[in-house]
């Protein structure tokens, strides 16, 4: 159930909340808001993925610079709501189990299409790193001959994705589509994104890069799959959906799930894996949206998703607000000073990520920031990292305050079943 407020009723609610600020909202109401926001974010992701599909269809029907650029713009827009859903991932098993299909990264893009010679060949880790399914209608995979004469959503989702059990074999989702729209970024530490020519989709003699018909087929299949995956996830958060049911099964565990999602994304995933590691490796490929050079936005909207889940306020892509009883309200009732601390830290992080975003938009690309010895770039990225690390500390304090620390919220799956982590 999505709550829609007019400006006037939202104002009334604020006044009412302020008047009774010492009363804790019920956990059930907090969970309800959290689930409503999830539903709205996934629905927004779906709506913008459908706009992407329309743009992709136009590109395939009439390949040109204009239709390619329109498809790229639609992809960038589609990332805005999706990145804000990432805060749901680590707290909700149903999201985490599904997420790899739509947002897996990093990828060995040579699996999908042609790559530059400098990319190298098969590696110790992945013998399919340069499979190039677009150029190969038939190939061997784990001792089996695969018929890829038609590139279908089933081929991508069921055979090619995570082929040979290797996570870098990403055949589906946003980043596969990103690669098909931009191509490899060959600019190293210089400004500039991937520069795939529109003629990679031209049919007949104008075709560049070979197999333009199969490339179009791949792009179309991957986009179709993205939509069906987002449709599925949106349904899970509707009234009666499995994600909403799992969340509300046990209220304390549900509130713990909110904090787990916030903390795991802040610390291990975003501050560590996505930001600091890339900086320490000084590798321009170690940026999250490396083909499109959209990494600054990817980080920014991840951070925004964490903040709006805590505040219980999300603004939909059509401007409609979704809000209600929040985790912040729960904390206010127990320890108002800790709520102030949390809000200040979330806002510090957003300021740091905003600085990263505005500087990138002004022309200082994320891959330039990653270059060894680039002091300004390092400071920008570390500003975001430090903000995220610092806010994690306060998230832990909230876990202790709300006495949720008796809930084993981390990694229990691997304890119950040692093999589970390799799925």
């Amino acid at each position: 159930m999505t709550k829609l407020f007019t400006a006037a009723s939202a104002l009334t609610l604020c006044v009412a909340t302020a008047a009774f600020s010492s009363d804790a909202p019920s956990k059930a109401d907090v969970l309800n808001t959290y689930a409503d926001i999830a539903e709205a974010k996934y629905d927004d992701s779906l709506i913008s993925a459908k706009a992407l599909q329309a743009a992709v269809n136009a590109l395939i029907a009439e390949p040109s610079d204009a239709t390619l650029n329109a498809a790229r713009a639609a992809w960038v827009a589609a990332r805005v709501p999706y990145q804000q859903t990432e805060v749901y991932r680590f707290g909700n098993a149903i999201v985490d189990d599904w997420e790899g299909k739509v947002n897996a990264w990093p990828l060995d893009e040579g699996l999908i299409d042609y790559v530059d010679a400098a990319y190298g060949g098969a590696t110790d880790e992945n013998e399919f790193a340069v499979l190039n399914v677009i150029a190969n209608p038939s190939f061997e995979l784990s001792g089996e001959t695969i018929d890829a004469s038609k590139i279908t959503p089933e081929l991508l989702g069921e055979t090619l994705h995570e082929a040979d059990g290797i996570e870098a074999n990403v055949a589906t989702g946003y980043h596969a589509i990103e690669f098909l729209l931009w191509g490899q970024d060959m600019n190293g530490h210089n400004a500039g994104a991937g520069n795939r020519p529109w003629t990679d989709y031209a049919q007949g003699d104008d075709c560049t890069g070979g197999n333009c018909d199969r490339r179009a087929e791949y792009l179309s299949a991957a986009t179709e799959l993205l939509i069906s995956d987002l449709e599925w996830m949106t349904a899970q958060w509707k009234e009666g959906g499995a994600a909403r049911a799992a969340l509300t099964e046990n209220e304390a565990a549900g509130v713990s799930a909110i904090l787990t999602g916030m903390g795991s994304l802040s610390y291990g995933e975003q501050a560590g894996e996505r930001m600091r590691l890339g900086l320490m490796l000084n590798d321009p490929e170690e940026e999250h949206d490396c083909f499109s050079d959209n990494t600054h936005n990817s980080h920014y909207y991840d951070g925004l998703g964490i903040q709006n889940v805590y505040l219980g306020e999300y603004v939909r892509i059509d401007g409609t607000p979704v809000s209600g009883a929040s985790l912040s309200d729960l904390v206010i009732a127990a320890d108002p000073a800790l709520d102030v601390e949390m809000k200040a830290k979330l806002s510090n992080t957003m300021q740091a990520l905003g600085r990263l975003k505005s500087t990138a938009e002004a022309g200082f690309a994320y891959d330039q920031m990653l270059e060894s010895g680039n002091v300004g770039g390092e400071a920008l990225i570390m500003g975001g990292v430090n903000g995220l690390v610092d806010q994690t500390k306060t998230i832990e304090r909230i876990v202790a305050l709300l006495e949720l620390d008796q809930i084993d919220f981390e990694g229990s799956d691997s304890l119950d079943n040692p093999d589970a982590v390799f799925h």
């Binding site: 832990e396 084993d408 990694g411």
Partner: protein, 336 residues
């Protein structure tokens, strides 16, 4: 690797709040942490001076010094907070797992370009973490692919630069711990830890994260799946140190676990037995690089070792943590 999945609500006894953490915090800091970083600093200095005197990859002195310094790092590597996290020191000491082959790529590029940073410690400290630390040095000392790349003189300079950089980081961590020790022993104003509980949580997290890393990464990576074992992913397999790292980490984590459980002899005794069971399985394995992950019979024994570490994790999370009134919080392994 997706680590998080289910949420389990444990039914637990009411925990003792407001416990006096002082004695345990002092004990862990003075007897567990400080000696480990002193050892690391000393053995890393010795590695650097040995490399200065003899930089041949096959040199037995150099390899022995490398082994001793790496041993002290693995025995301290679960203590990832405070001084190890300043300036990427711990990352630069040991970048692994290297899922995209950054270390060989970085080294090959440096050798091919005869990168001048090897002659300048400050410049070398700006090199990618993939080209520094124990895993980069392992490639240079043990990987035949690096035995004849570029000029011998450059390879020598590179080995010396990596060893000196290891020593620089180890010394800096040890020096910073001399001041940080007071901060974690005396939480409150001026300390990053607001309360004794927060300082205890840091040590408890070191224990849980260390166990998780050893079970899921050190053992889990080479095990892969039954259908697709990945023995080539074993940690430090080129120097045949994979199993040794599991044994060293278990010994270090046992020491920490027993200090954390000092006030609860019943739990301490169960932990001690569980650690001994795991150590015995490791000792009996006789498979230094986990090459046996690929054959069903020997694979079973590696899985049994992994299970025995998961048994320890279970005692830690269901008995030790709740009794201490501490949760693990978030760690760097959360996420993918």
């Amino acid at each position: 690797m997706r680590t998080l999945a289910t949420l389990v609500l444990l039914s637990l006894p009411v925990t003792a709040h407001a416990q006096d953490r002082g004695p345990i915090l002092a004990e862990i800091t003075e007897a567990h942490i400080l000696p480990r970083f002193a050892n690391l600093s000393e053995s890393a200095d010795s590695l650097a001076s040995t490399a200065q005197a003899d930089c041949l990859p096959g040199s037995s002195d150099l390899r022995a010094a490398y082994g001793a310094a790496f041993d002290s790092w693995v025995s301290a590597s679960h203590l990832r907070f405070g001084p190890t996290e300043t300036g990427d020191r711990a990352f630069a000491l040991a970048f692994w797992p290297d899922t995209k082959g950054f270390t060989p790529k970085t080294l090959s590029r440096m050798i091919a370009d005869a990168d001048a940073s090897v002659g300048d410690a400050e410049a070398f400290s700006q090199v990618s973490i993939a080209g520094r630390g124990f895993f980069a040095l392992e490639r240079m000392l043990y990987d035949p692919d690096f035995a004849d790349q570029g000029q011998a003189a450059y390879r020598c300079a590179l080995i010396q630069a990596i060893a000196a950089d290891i020593a620089r980081n180890a010394d800096a961590i040890n020096a910073d711990w001399q001041g940080y020790a007071a901060l974690i022993m005396h939480p409150g104003d001026g300390s990053p830890y607001r309360s004794g509980d927060e300082a205890m949580q840091e040590h408890y997290r070191a224990l849980t994260t260390g166990l998780e890393f050893t079970a899921d990464t050190r053992l889990g990576r080479p095990l892969g799946t039954f259908d697709r074992p990945r023995p080539n992913r074993a940690e430090a397999r080129r120097s045949e140190r994979s199993l040794r790292h599991v044994e060293l980490s278990l010994a270090a984590l046992k020491d920490l676990a027993l200090r954390l459980s000092a006030d609860h002899p019943e739990i301490a005794s169960r932990l001690s037995q569980a650690f001994d069971a795991a150590a015995n399985r490791a000792h009996a394995l006789d498979d230094p690089t986990f090459a046996g992950a690929a054959t069903p019979q020997s694979r079973l024994r590696i899985e049994a070792l992994q299970q025995s570490i998961n048994d320890i994790r279970s005692i830690v999370s269901t008995e030790l943590g709740p009794t201490l009134g501490i949760s693990a919080g978030f760690n760097s392994l959360d996420g993918d």
